[in-house]
């Protein structure tokens, strides 16, 4: 009997939670407050890890304790992303068949601008990420787009991130209801449980950073994209933000979205915005 009562109570709770969620979604339209969100998000991590320097959160699991930090420092002496960085630099300066270069597609010739991506494009009415902008640049110049997940795209973004190292993330949300809606959509995706394992992004990266799943230390969500792209030992290679999202989804047995689908672009917008002020550290290296 007791178990049945618990089950009933549990169901009632779930139903109530669903109702509450539905209700907040209705109200959400005029209650989106990214500034307050970002402050609360950052404070949550600063209070949870009072001994971690704020700018160290961008080093993912390596920020979580002294042992990990030492591992990171050793790794940075011969960084595994170096070959990608060199390749990216060369690709970036090599002209397309039409004689133009990537520099022609970006403000400031593409140097030191990574911290401004993703941005909300008011003409398109959507979020534009650095990866998307790079492929659009290629296509506008008659070149075939690259795979979003690794190889050339990782090399190009590695180089662009490197030229922005140390610059604080600086994502803007223009006064446009579509920009707020994109932010809110990304936030909703981040906190929604999905897949057979029933995890949200936040389950691991807000509730459990610093904890281990088997031997792997979970990274804090704060600043997680500041280090992109990353060389991951687990991948034996480089991966972009797109790759990170796709593999997180498939590892929790959820259905991954297409790289650069609207929802992934919105999550990147949300996650980057709440990391405003923290330095770009990419390209990064991860276990």
């Amino acid at each position: 009997m007791k178990q049945r009562a618990t089950v009933l109570l549990g169901s009632a709770f779930v139903a109530l939670a669903a109702l509450a969620f539905a209700a907040t979604r209705v109200i959400a339209a005029d209650k989106v407050d990214p500034v307050a969100d970002a402050k609360a998000f950052q404070n949550f991590f600063f209070q949870k890890f009072p001994n971690v320097k704020h700018e160290d959160f961008v080093n993912g699991p390596y920020s979580m304790n002294e042992d990990m930090k030492r591992q990171w420092q050793e790794k940075e002496e011969f960084p595994p992303y170096e070959f990608a960085l060199d390749a990216g630099k060369e690709m970036f300066s090599t002209p397309f068949k039409n004689g133009k270069t990537y520099a022609d597609c970006f403000p400031n010739g593409g140097i030191g601008i990574r911290q401004n991506y993703p941005y909300f494009d008011e003409k398109e009415g959507k979020v534009v990420t650095l990866e998307l902008a790079l492929n659009r640049c290629r296509e506008a110049n008659g070149e075939a787009p690259y795979s979003y997940v690794k190889d050339e795209m990782a090399s190009l973004t590695a180089y662009m991130a490197y030229t922005s190292r140390g610059r604080p993330m600086d994502i803007k949300i223009p006064d446009d209801p579509r920009a707020l809606a994109a932010y809110e959509n990304g936030k909703r995706y981040f906190y929604t449980r999905r897949g057979q394992m029933n995890f949200s992004c936040a389950s691991c990266h807000v509730q459990s950073p610093g904890e281990r799943i088997r031997a792997e230390t979970l990274a804090p969500a704060l600043g997680i994209l500041n280090a992109m792209p990353i060389y991951r030992s687990e991948w034996s290679g480089m991966g972009t933000t797109s790759r990170r999202f796709v593999t997180c989804n498939s590892q929790t047995r959820a259905v991954p979205l297409e790289p650069q689908s609207d929802e992934y672009r919105d999550v990147e917008y949300f996650l980057s915005y709440v990391a405003n002020g923290l330095p770009i550290s990419g390209p990064g290296a991860r276990p």
Binding site: Q3, V14, Q196, M197, N198, S203, S208, E211, R212, R214
Partner: protein, 116 residues
């Protein structure tokens, strides 16, 4: 949700089986350990320290003294089946509800957990 109406009957049946056949219980215990350690099944070690398991994670509590903590095996079954019912914030996947494990597999894991 659909499994609840038939669960009491199933539990009674399993209790009978467990009581009547110690040799069988021994083998479901071993099967339970395999399921608990299997990365594609229970994968309990990802989050819990369990005696006899390598590379445990740290998210959940160590699984020990289980019989003292959960004298009622139904409670243990319910936690593995869908802990979100009791704690909506839990990290623990709803192994039964999301069909990561069958009821039979959960029962074998419960047998194993009760030996810890």
């Amino acid at each position: 949700m659909t499994v609840f109406p038939c669960k009491p009957a199933l539990l009674v049946a399993l209790a009978l089986v467990a009581g009547a056949a110690p040799a069988r219980a021994q083998s479901t215990m071993a099967a339970g350990q395999n399921l608990a350690f299997d990365r594609g099944k229970g994968n309990c070690l990802t989050c819990h320290v369990i005696k006899g398991g390598d590379l445990p994670g740290t998210i959940g509590p160590e699984l020990k003294d289980i019989k003292a903590k959960y004298p009622d095996r139904n409670e243990l079954f319910a936690i593995i089946f869908d802990e979100t019912k009791r704690n909506p914030q839990t990290m623990m996947p709803p192994f039964g509800r999301n069909r990561i494990l069958t009821e039979q597999e959960i029962n074998a894991i419960v047998d194993f957990l009760q030996t810890l």
